[in-house]
């Protein structure tokens, strides 16, 4: 490969100017002629039958155009094919406070709101199940009738190797219980959609991370042909996983538009956003780890209870993920995972940045910290003793390719002055460590596992205009820019010369969307494939003019030249004209499917990925003993992202992850009270770190070039979030000598723990009582031989 011009260099994003001038158009910025405004009426009951809905007074209000209820959109949907358990509006029963019950379209928003107030709903309350313990209790009622065990949405029991024997071999075994609180994505832009139904065709502008899934679900629920639905992404004000499945208001706006013959806009309030949720599952976890005296891990057993809220969402995947991702960082010779996702009468949980990773990672990294102390070992040394190796297979049959974890650890160890400073800091200050791994895109899709995960089309016109079409979703992470950068690198132009048409299901090839950190890897590879075909044609055409074999030619700045004699060259645009003359219109489509991975058991594809990113973090904290306030003073985060296609964007992703980790470590919780009400449904009550609470974050890029990634790239958007919370929590122990096995480390909690009276009863963490079935014991599948 000749020297790279674009890839690996910090560059300004192609859409950056539109963001600093206010020109970028987000969902609520769309104004269409004759547009009406929609509002949702939401359930005031956590669990109830709907006995009667009377919309007549709402309909009679001047300015109201239409009102719909559950029976108007009765077809079920769900983001996963085997869990179609939602309807756009509740049918005969509500399952959480905030569940949409009716929708109004009116000439203006205030009228729509007032109309909602005029709708009468008669509820017959059912006993709500607001905790996992209540939901799993022997005579608990059912939230959904179809679960085999009442309220156990998904149960997974797997054992790889013999854990009991492994604990027998250990010199030391520890058991701990952990609580990771749920929290919400809180993108700064709330959900916003505009639907326009015209001549039987629907166009929906929606700030979604998954235009393809939304298109599919709209066609299904509105009962119109798939091809009559076009989903277009406006600019999106952040997602973090909260906009990654079809949601009620998308159907309601569409149906109201069909009925009123007008475009209909629905924008959620911040409070509605908190009730829509789909955020991080609260998790209660029990973990048991065995080690030899020298720190060698012998086995790990975990039980995880996920509080899923009222609907399935991605729950099956969430359950598997909490089991799959833990053994990727350290060699665990024997591993047992029991997981259950429990339905409760609360806003549904779903994927949030790091999906399924942060909760078990929190428990495991704290438990390792405790084990290191028990063994009298440095916590980093304990991890080093057990590091996974590049090109190896994990105990649960996950294939690891490139792996820069060892280098990540070395970098944060050095950067933070770990060896010199740890244990020698003034009282109240401490350093803590944790490491993690994450997917570069899921290796599977449940709808059409045999079809490509990403498609891209690249076309070049005779004037030299280059356009990439891809269904990918730009949500602020810079995916549009990266596709442009890849094409620019390949064709010898600059990203600003490449137009990216993304996230428009009417004109772009299918890409599954922005979730599981898949876009750079998968859309990037699809784009490279398409570009490669065009490249070959351009080289062929240039070869004729330059009388040099295509293999001897390469792309330079807007030209193609002989790699041994740059003066022997042709302008790119001339080569394009020649190529079009020779081959006809220049366009090519590429697609990407991940390799078939996974073990010999059901669900083993969840957790597979064509490549894993790795992260290590050291946190430095200062704890004020008088107030209990924890201040994160600094974070060092080293991330193996493979090749950093644009380092500026990678640093930004790591910093964003670290920031979000600080929030989850110190303050963020989605707390639902005993009546099913959200306790903090506003930005003032649900605390987010501001620029003052967010520390300086030193980010270090470790680039273990991946053999299958585009230019060797892996993910950066989610992985770095995983080690932040345990690193901070471990640092708080160093600073205070008090262990916290739960999130968040709010000042009141820390204060109480630091000022515990003698003999005061400890509040011990527990897991619900539940009998897991006999585990499945799959035979291992090896990818690279024995890695030990």
């Amino acid at each position: 490969m000749s020297e790279m011009r674009i890839v690996g260099k910090p560059r300004t994003k192609i859409d950056a100017v539109s963001k600093v001038t206010g020109a970028a158009k987000y969902g609520d910025d769309m104004m269409l002629p004759r547009m009406a405004y929609g509002k949702l009426l939401r359930s005031t009951q956590p669990h109830a039958y709907i006995r009667r809905i009377d919309v007549s007074r709402a309909r009679a209000l001047p300015g109201v155009l239409d009102v719909i209820t559950g029976k108007d959109l009765p077809i079920h949907y769900g983001v996963l094919p085997n869990n179609q358990d939602e309807t756009a509006l509740a049918m005969d029963r509500v399952r959480y406070i905030g569940e949409p019950v009716a929708a109004v379209a009116a000439l203006d928003e205030r009228t729509a709101e007032r109309a909602c107030d005029l709708i009468e709903v008669e509820y017959e309350p059912i006993k709500p199940l607001l905790t996992m313990e209540d939901a799993l209790a022997p005579n608990a009622g059912r939230i959904h009738d179809w679960t085999r065990t009442p309220n156990a949405h998904k149960i997974v029991s797997l054992e790889f190797g013999d854990v009991e024997a492994a604990f027998g071999r250990a010199d030391l075994v520890r058991e701990d219980t952990f609580l990771y609180e749920g929290n919400s994505h809180v993108p700064l832009e709330t959900h916003a959609v505009v639907a326009k139904f015209e001549g039987g065709h629907l166009t929906l502008w929606s700030g979604t991370q998954v235009p393809h899934y939304v298109q599919r679900a709209l066609a299904q629920v509105l009962n119109i042909p798939h091809g009559h639905v076009r989903v277009i992404l406006p600019a999106i004000g952040g997602g973090f996983g909260g906009k990654s499945e079809p949601l009620s208001f998308e159907f309601c706006a569409s149906e109201l538009s069909r009925r009123t013959g007008r475009p209909v806009k629905i924008v959620l309030t911040r409070e509605e956003q908190f009730y829509t949720h789909r955020g991080r599952h609260p998790a209660k976890m029990w973990m048991k780890t065995g080690v030899k005296r020298d720190g060698e891990l012998t086995g790990l057993a975990v039980k995880i209870f996920l509080d899923g809220g009222a609907f399935s969402s991605f729950g099956i995947a969430s359950t598997y993920y909490t089991g799959a991702l833990t053994p990727i960082t350290y060699k665990v010779p024997a591993y047992k995972f029991d997981g259950v996702r429990v339905f409760t009468n609360k806003p549904p949980c779903g994927p949030k940045r790091g999906h399924g990773g942060p909760q078990p990672r929190f428990g495991f990294e704290i438990q390792l910290d405790k084990l290191a102390e028990d063994l009298g070992m440095d916590p980093i040394a304990l991890r080093r003793r057990n590091l996974v190796e590049p090109y190896s297979t994990t105990v649960n049959s996950l294939r690891i390719t490139s792996c820069g974890l060892s280098e990540c650890i070395a970098q944060v160890e050095k950067g933070s002055g770990w060896q010199e400073r740890r244990g020698k800091m003034p009282p109240g200050k401490g350093l803590g460590f944790a490491a993690s791994a994450y997917l570069s895109g899921t290796g599977t899709t449940m709808w059409h596992p045999d079809l490509p995960h990403s498609g891209a089309h690249v076309q070049i016109d005779r004037g030299g205009a280059i356009t990439v079409f891809c269904g990918s979703a730009e949500i602020g992470q810079g995916s549009d820019h990266l596709l442009a950068a890849l094409v620019a690198e390949e064709l010898g132009v600059y990203p600003e010369d490449v137009r990216v048409v993304a996230g428009d299901t009417g004109i772009t090839p299918v890409d599954l969307g922005s979730y599981s950190s898949r876009v750079t890897f998968m859309s990037g590879n699809a784009t490279l494939k398409a570009t490669g075909e065009l490249k070959a044609k351009l080289l062929e055409a240039a070869s004729r003019v330059l009388e040099t074999a295509p293999e001897e030619l390469e792309f330079g700045d807007y030209e193609i030249h002989d790699r041994n004699d740059h003066a022997n060259s042709i302008k790119l645009v001339d080569a394009i004209v020649r190529a079009e003359a020779q081959f006809g219109t220049l366009g090519a489509t590429g697609s990407y499917s991940p390799p078939r991975l996974g073990g010999n058991y059901r669900g083993s594809v969840i957790g597979t990925s064509p490549a894993y990113s790795f992260t290590a973090c050291v946190a430095q904290v200062d704890v004020d003993a008088d107030t209990g306030e924890v201040r994160v003073e600094k974070l060092w985060v080293a991330h193996d992202c493979g090749r950093a296609l644009n380092p500026t964007l990678v640093h930004g992703q790591i910093q964003g992850c670290a920031y979000m980790g600080v929030g989850e470590a110190l303050m963020e919780t989605q707390q639902i009270d005993g009546r099913g009400l959200h306790m903090s449904p506003s930005l003032l009550e649900y605390h987010l770190p501001t620029s003052i609470e967010t520390p300086e974050i030193e980010t270090i890029l470790v680039q273990a070039i991946d053999p299958e990634g585009p230019y060797g790239a892996k993910e950066a958007g989610e992985g770095p979030q995983n080690p932040i919370v345990p690193a901070i929590t471990n640092a708080v122990y160093q600073a205070t000598g008090v262990r916290f096995d739960e999130t968040p480390l709010s000042a009141d909690k820390v204060y109480r723990a630091l000022h515990k009276k003698k003999g005061q009863r400890e509040t011990t963490l527990t897991i619900p009582e539940f009998r897991f079935p006999e585990p499945e014991r799959p035979t291992p599948r090896e990818y690279y031989g024995d890695c030990s």
């Binding site: 963001k19 206010g22 205030r110 809180v186 993108p187 600019a235 911040r270 810079g478 640093h651 967010t694």
Partner: protein, 170 residues
């Protein structure tokens, strides 16, 4: 569909005068976005909690979601659309795009205005002073580091260009 009678509101925005008919309770946020098509001003709460709706009133930041349009009459208002002059980015906007300070960009318009008012008063802020100045402006994407970088970079460039001018003129 309100029973209240609309009133005439005259606003001076980015040097232009606009007169609209609006209900007296209409917020500046609504008037800017829905009547004047100035959608660069964003909203994340409409309760005064996120500052995404920040605009400048006589050079001082105000939250447009908590300001009635009636109250804004007679003041010079600046929104993000009025910051770049004739398509030329300000040094802050330029530093912002180079530093990667805008991810989703939803906090950006207000953040740029907020940071600009800091730079107008303090040409060489420390990183802590920058953090203090933008503390009311929530960003959910960046972790603030690249935003602070951008403001620092802009301040440096602006100081250098002032020094240049002084050198040339003396």
């Amino acid at each position: 569909m309100s029973e209240t009678e609309n009133v005439v509101v005259t606003l001076n925005v980015n040097g232009e005068t606009h007169t609209v008919l609006a209900p007296p309770y209409e917020t500046l946020l609504e008037t800017l976005r829905e009547r004047l098509d100035l959608t660069g001003t964003k909203h994340g709460c409409e309760l005064g909690e996120c500052s995404a709706c920040m605009v400048l009133m006589d050079g001082e930041p105000v939250l447009s979601c908590l300001t009635l349009s009636l109250e804004a009459q007679g003041h010079a208002l600046t929104t993000i659309e009025g910051v770049a002059k004739n398509g030329v980015l300000t040094p802050l906007q330029q530093a912002y795009i180079e530093s990667g300070a805008s991810q989703c960009g939803y906090c950006t318009p207000a953040m740029v205005l907020s940071a600009q008012t800091l730079l107008d008063k303090n040409p060489s802020p420390t990183r802590q002073e920058i953090r203090d100045a933008i503390a009311g402006n929530l960003c959910r994407c960046t972790g603030y580091v690249q935003i602070v970088d951008a403001v620092e970079l802009a301040a440096k460039r602006m100081r250098e260009s002032v020094e240049d001018r002084v050198r040339r003129e003396t």
